[in-house]
C-alpha cells in the first residue's frame, strides 16, 4: 500500500529515469518502485526477535530462529538494511547525484550515532542503579564488571568513540561503520555491481585470513566485525541493484530448493545437539572439529550460507504479491519494519527495562511472558504513531519536500 509520498517519488523517479541514459545494471525495474512489503515484514520480524533475544532466556526465546539454525535475526536485519539502503539512496543518487546521496547517508549515520549514545546513557543509568543496590555475595566476582563505573572519564569517552560497547549494544556501531563507507561503494555498485560485490568478497576473505578487526575498549575487538559483516550488507545492496533479478533463475530451480532444505535440516540438527546434548553421540567428531566454534564476530560462512538458504526459501514460497502481506494481522510487523531505527532503539530500551523489572520483581516465567508481549505491543504502537505522524507531516509540507523527507524516513533505516 504505497503512501502518497511514495507515489510522488515513483513519478519523479520515472521522469528522471526517462531523461537519464541508464548505465548497464543500474536500471531499477518499475515494479521495484512500489514498496517491497516483504522487506518491511521481515525487518519488523527481525526487530521483534532481537528484542526477545535481548531479554533473558524465556518461553518466547524458543520461537526465535537462532534456536533452529546457525544464523539469527542480526543477519536478516543487516541484509535488509543493505538492501533498503541501496534501494533508497541509489534512487537519490540517480535523481540528485552523488554528493546529495552521500550527504543523506551521512545524515543517517549521524542519526544512528545519536541513537546509540542515547541508548548508552540509559544503559549507564541502569547499571549504576544495579551497582548501588545489588550486593549478593554469590556474585561478588561478576559484579567486577561494574568497576568501569569508577572511571567515567575514560569509559564515557571510549563509548563516544564506539570502542566501549556494553553487551547488546553492538548492532548500531556496526551499522554506523557500514553506512559510513557506503557512499563510494554505492557509487561503484551502481555502475559495476559485480565488481563491488567482488571487492566485498575479497575484503571478507582478507579479514578471515589476516584477522583484520577493530579494537574495542577495555580490550578485545568489536563483537560484530564490520570488515566481515560488510559482506552481508553489500550483498543486500547487490540484490537491490539488480542482483536478485539476475539470480531468479537459480532461485527457482529445484536443485537449489533441495540444497537449501538439506542444509537447513543439517543446521537444525546441529543446533538441536546444543540443546539436547544426548544427541551429540550421533555427531561425528570430525564434523565437530571442522565446524566449531561457529564464529559470529567474523560472520562464519556457515551462518552466511544458512541465511542464504533461509532467504532463498522465503523468496520462493512467499511471493511479492502474497495477499497476506496486506492483512491487518501482519500490519504491526510491517509498521515496525518501516521505522526500523526508532523501533530498534525502543526495543533495546524495552529489553533493558524488562530485565530491570524482572530483576526487581524476582520474575517467574509468567512475568517474563507478559514483559515480552507488552514489549512487542509497545513497539507496534510506537510504530503506528510514527507512521501516523509521517502521514500528517507529509500532508502539511510542500510536495517536493515531502518526497525528499520520505526517502530519508524509509531510508534504509537502521
Amino acid at each position: 500500500m504505497p503512501s502518497v509520498a511514495d507515489q510522488v517519488v515513483a513519478a519523479r523517479a520515472k521522469v528522471a529515469a526517462d531523461g537519464v541514459t541508464r548505465a548497464a545494471g543500474v536500471a531499477i525495474p518499475a515494479a521495484h518502485l512500489e514498496r517491497e512489503l516483504r522487506l518491511d515484514l521481515f525487518r519488523g520480524l527481525a526487530l521483534w526477535l532481537i528484542f526477545i533475544d535481548h531479554l533473558p532466556q524465556n518461553l518466547l526465546t524458543w520461537l526465535t530462529i537462532r534456536n533452529y539454525g546457525f544464523s539469527d535475526a542480526t543477519e536478516i536485519f543487516i541484509f535488509i538494511s543493505g538492501y533498503t539502503a541501496a534501494f533508497v539512496y541509489g534512487r537519490v543518487m540517480l535523481q540528485r547525484g552523488f554528493v546529495v546521496a552521500a550527504a543523506r547517508i551521512l545524515k543517517r549515520v549521524w542519526q544512528i550515532y545519536v541513537a546509540h549514545i542515547f541508548l548508552f546513557t540509559i544503559f549507564l543509568a541502569e547499571i549504576s542503579y544495579v551497582a548501588s543496590s545489588f550486593d549478593n555475595p554469590l556474585y561478588a566476582e561478576e559484579m567486577g564488571i561494574l568497576d568501569f563505573l569508577k572511571h567515567p572519564d575514560v569509559t564515557i569517552v571510549q563509548a563516544m568513540l564506539l570502542k566501549f560497547r556494553p553487551v547488546n549494544m553492538d548492532v548500531l556501531p556496526l551499522y554506523i561503520a557500514l553506512m559510513l563507507f557506503f557512499p563510494p561503494m554505492l557509487w561503484l555498485m551502481r555502475r559495476k555491481a559485480d565488481l563491488g560485490l567482488g571487492l566485498s568478497v575479497g575484503l571478507y576473505i582478507l579479514t578471515r585470513q589476516f584477522d583484520l578487526a577493530l579494537p574495542a575498549y577495555p580490550n578485545g575487538v568489536w563483537f560484530f566485525n564490520p570488515f566481515a559483516w560488510q559482506l552481508l550488507f553489500l550483498f543486500g545492496a547487490w540484490c537491490a541493484l539488480g542482483g536478485a533479478k539476475r539470480m531468479s533463475r537459480i532461485l527457482s530451480s529445484r536443485v537449489t530448493l533441495w540444497i537449501c532444505v538439506a542444509y537447513l535440516l543439517f543446521a537444525f540438527y546441529t543446533t538441536l545437539t546444543w540443546h539436547v546434548p544426548q544427541l551429540n553421540h550421533f555427531m561425528p567428531r570430525v564434523a565437530e572439529q571442522w565446524m566449531y566454534p561457529i564464529d559470529k564476530t567474523n560472520l562464519d560462512m556457515l551462518r552466511f550460507v544458512h541465511f542464504l538458504a533461509l532467504a532463498a526459501l522465503t523468496v520462493r514460497f512467499l511471493p511479492r504479491n502474497w495477499p497476506g502481506l496486506t492483512s491487518p494481522w501482519l500490519r504491526p510487523l510491517i509498521l515496525c519494519g518501516q521505522h526500523s531505527l526508532e523501533i530498534f532503539c525502543i526495543g533495546i530500551f524495552l529489553a533493558f527495562a524488562g530485565q530491570f523489572i524482572l530483576a526487581e520483581a524476582s520474575g517467574g516465567a509468567g512475568l517474563h511472558f507478559v514483559i515480552s508481549v507488552c514489549g512487542i505491543l509497545i513497539m507496534s504502537a510506537a510504530a503506528w504513531v510514527f507512521s501516523w505522524y509521517k502521514k500528517i507531516a507529509g500532508k502539511g509540507g510542500g510536495r517536493a519536500k515531502s518526497a525528499d523527507g520520505d526517502a530519508d524516513l524509509a531510508g534504509g533505516g537502521a
Binding site: I145, R285, S362
Partner: protein, 254 residues
C-alpha cells in the same frame, strides 16, 4: 507510549505482589538432570585412585566465584570434600583450593604445570572463564590459554575437570558468557576432558525455581545454599564420570 508504559508497570506491580506473597523457600533438593552430571570423557586417575582405596587428592583452581567471602568453609570445594567423604567411606579424600582472584585463564595457565607437580593432585578442577568474560578477553587467546593449561595439567599427571562460569541473571546485560562457554566446551572435547557445566546447572535451578538467582539479598545465605548444591552436584559428577559405583565400593570394604 506513555499509557502503554503505565499499564505495563501496573501489570508488573500486580505480579510482583503475588510473587512476594509466596511462602519461604522449601528445603533444597539440588535437582539436576542426569545428563549434566556425567561426561563421556574419562577420569582414569580418579577411577584408579578410588579402586585402590585412596588417597584421592583434588585441587580446585578458581577465581572468586569458587569461594564465599567470609564463609570459605561452606563454599563448594569444602562441600565437595564433605560429600565425597560421605559417598566414598574409607577413602581419604582431600580437596584443596588455589584461589586466583581477578586472573584470566591466560594469567593462570602458565603456572598450572608447576602447581600440579608441586601438589601432585589426582584431579584438578579448573574453574575459569568469569574474569575473561568480564574483561571480554579475545576468545581466541582464551581458547589458547585453556589449551595450554589443560595440556600442562595432563602432562603433570593429573586428571582435569573444566568448570565454566556461574549463571548470573543480574549481570546478563553486561557480561556475555556464551562464546567463552562454547570455547571451554571445544577445549574439553579436544582434550577429552570432562566439563562441569556450572552455567547450565545454575540456569536450570533458576528456571525451575530451585533458587531465585535474581534475588537482591545482601546476606550470605543464598550463596551458601547454592554452593552446597554445587558441591553435591560436582561430587556426583566426579563419581559418575570416573565410573565408580559407591554402593559396590561400600560392600567390598565392609
Amino acid at each position: 507510549m506513555r499509557a502503554g508504559w503505565m499499564s505495563v508497570l501496573f501489570v508488573m506491580a500486580g505480579l510482583s505482589a503475588s510473587a512476594l506473597a509466596r511462602a519461604d523457600d522449601p528445603p533444597q533438593s539440588c535437582d539436576v538432570p542426569a545428563y549434566l552430571l556425567t561426561s563421556d570423557s574419562p577420569l582414569p586417575r580418579v577411577s584408579a585412585a578410588i579402586k585402590a582405596g585412596g588417597p584421592l587428592a583434588i585441587l580446585v583452581v578458581g577465581s572468586r566465584s569458587s569461594t564465599i567471602a567470609g564463609a570459605e568453609g561452606e563454599a563448594y570445594p569444602a562441600r565437595l570434600q564433605a560429600m565425597l567423604r560421605e559417598k566414598l567411606p574409607g577413602i581419604a579424600v582431600s580437596v584443596s583450593m588455589e584461589l586466583a582472584p581477578r586472573k584470566t585463564a591466560a594469567d593462570v595457565a602458565p603456572g598450572l604445570g608447576k602447581l600440579a607437580q608441586a601438589k601432585k593432585p589426582t584431579l584438578v578442577v579448573w574453574q575459569t572463564g568469569t574474569v575473561d568474560a568480564i574483561r571480554s578477553v579475545d576468545v581466541d587467546s582464551f581458547h589458547d590459554a585453556l589449551d595450554q593449561g589443560v595440556t600442562a595439567l595432563q602432562n603433570a599427571g593429573a586428571d582435569v575437570v573444566l568448570m565454566n562460569m556461574q549463571y548470573s541473571p543480574r549481570t546478563e546485560t553486561m557480561v556475555s558468557p556464551t562464546s567463552y562457554i562454547d570455547n571451554m566446551r571445544v577445549v574439553a572435547q579436544q582434550h577429552d576432558v570432562p566439563l562441569f557445566d556450572r552455567f547450565a546447572i545454575m540456569n536450570r535451578w533458576n528456571e525451575t525455581g530451585e533458587f531465585d538467582l535474581f534475588s537482591a539479598v545482601r546476606g550470605v545465605g543464598l550463596a551458601k545454599r547454592v554452593h552446597d548444591c554445587l558441591g553435591r552436584a560436582l561430587s556426583a559428577f566426579v563419581i559418575d564420570t570416573a565410573h565408580v559405583n559407591p554402593a559396590e565400593l561400600g560392600t567390598r570394604r565392609r
